[in-house]
């Protein structure tokens, strides 16, 4: 098996340029399957830009990004949408749940756009994050930690190849942060590839590898 076939993510000389601003500059990064990678850096360092490129929410201005062997630069917007649907599980800092759907239905939305809804499977995903008893609650009836766990259940439901979490504990208190990190631990133990963007060293400490960005460049990779 070649090197590239072994890596779930390969980023080669990737830059992202907004007019005169270089948000990312010649980033090189490989992530093997099952790795838990944390991307750290201060505000404006390019962490979110990098995550958006990995998550097919944005494209690189230069360089190549290969996700599960596919060169994202060669894909159309519709194909990138397909990759998001099939291969990526997204966890957001602000949860982004649909306000008029219950926790269970929010998980089922991801199934709906992926393939076929399965209420039992969605309920099992909620059970996995300890929220089976809150399945019929609307987002406004859930605490921040519970909403984030629904968001994680939604990210897991389609068995993505990679889970991308942008500041997953940014809006949570310590207790809920601990709960969410435990869930991510369990996912990692089960073999999931996880990329977490964070500026909190205590969150990054859970990862097996940490890279640090500054001014769009990787300044540390441990």
């Amino acid at each position: 098996m070649s090197e590239s076939a072994r890596n779930i993510l390969e980023i080669t000389d990737v830059s992202k340029i907004y007019g005169p601003l270089k948000a990312l500059e010649t980033i090189n990064l490989t992530v093997p399957p099952g790795q838990w990678l944390a991307i750290m850096g201060p505000s404006g360092s390019g962490k979110t830009t990098l995550m958006n490129i990995i998550g097919c929410l944005d494209t690189a201005s230069e360089g190549a990004v290969r996700l599960d062997g596919l060169n994202l630069a060669q894909l159309t917007r519709a194909e990138l949408t397909g990759i998001r649907r099939e291969a990526i599980g997204l966890i957001f800092q602000q949860f982004h749940l649909i306000s008029y759907l219950t926790a269970l239905e929010n998980v089922m939305v991801a199934q709906f756009y992926h393939s076929m809804v399965d209420e039992g499977e969605a309920l099992a995903a909620l059970e996995r994050v300890g929220l089976a008893d809150r399945a019929k609650h609307l987002p406004r009836q859930l605490s921040g930690g519970e909403q984030q766990r629904v968001c994680i259940a939604r990210a897991l439901i389609n068995h993505p190849k990679i889970i991308l979490a942008d500041e997953p504990t940014g809006n949570l208190d310590e207790a809920n942060e601990s709960l969410v990190m435990d869930i991510l631990h369990n996912l990692h133990q089960a073999g999931s590839t996880i990329v977490v963007v964070t500026h909190a060293p205590e969150v990054a400490a859970h990862a097996e590898r940490v890279i640090v960005l500054e001014h769009g460049r990787v300044v540390s990779d441990k």
């Binding site: 998550g55 929410l57 982004h96 239905e105 992926h114 609307l138």
Partner: protein, 379 residues
Amino acid sequence: MSKNSFFLARMLMWSLLRRRSRLLIALLGVTIGATVLFSLVTLCYDIPRQLSREFRSYGANLVFVKAGGVGRMSLAELNQAAALLPAEQLVGLTPLRYESVRNHMLPYTAVGVDFEEARKTSPYWRVEGVWPARSGEMLAGSDVAEKIRLTPGQSLTLDGRNEAQERYDKEFKVTGIVSTGGVEDGFMVISLSDMEEMTGEADRLDLAEASLTSNSAALSEISAQVKARFPGLEARPVTRVASSEETVLSKLTALVYLVSLVVLSLTMICVATTMMTVVLERRREIGLKKALGAENRRVAREFLAEGLILGVLGGFLGSVCGLFLAGAVSASVFGRALTPEPQLAPITIAVSAVVTIVACLAPVRRAVDVEPALVLRGE
């Protein structure tokens, strides 16, 4: 129904029911538009019916005479021809007979009419005094009354010679002075039965005036039927009245349709604006769905489906409200009950649905163009 279709229906239902305030604003816009549309189109349908009754105050619009206008017809002949008139559109049928009479040696024209029918066919007659109610009572035309200083309550004797040159005379009491603005102002108006009794000659009619709520095409059709089936008679549409009616009706109908079109355009603008607001408010939700892998066309389909539901619901409510509005307008303007047109309800619902979907197209097109990364970051 597949599980996904069921889930889509579930999402749409919750999107509408759990965002009630937004739904109500959008629904209100569609319903108001549909209400005005339904009521205007209903009135468009009903105006010819309503106004054709109003137009009957202009007098008869069909006149029966002997073919070529020569000779007199019998009541039996008239009744046979009158059987061709549509009963539901017949307002009145007045047989008339003219005779030359004298009073104090001065010549006058007496017209024998059926007073009850004359009031229906000639509602524009103004009577100072009262209408004759029994034998021996008459109306004097206003010109005659002025000429010989007749007032209600006075009596006069009419005399003359019948076709057999036999002399006759009869005393009448004037119960009223009639003003019509027409030839009747110069006539002595007596009942047909008094005319027959006075002259000793029955069953002789010079003409009959019919007042129908039919349009000019229908009147021409009746005329043709009379000509074909009763060669001795002619039914002549009163073109002056019929064409005036047609002109007024067509202009009024065109005006109402134009107003309907304007209302439809305003509804579309209103719904488009509301949908634009709704879509802008839901940019983050759209961004999320796209981030989860929803294709643009699926997101668009969901919004258009919401628009369709709003359109159908608004169209239904608008039809119900529009029926009441049209009824109220009909009662206040025409003083008559509206004839409902149930077939307009599905048409209104369909138009409302199409208008809502068309109004949704631009906002939805903008919505699906959102960049998920930007809206999820709150930009």
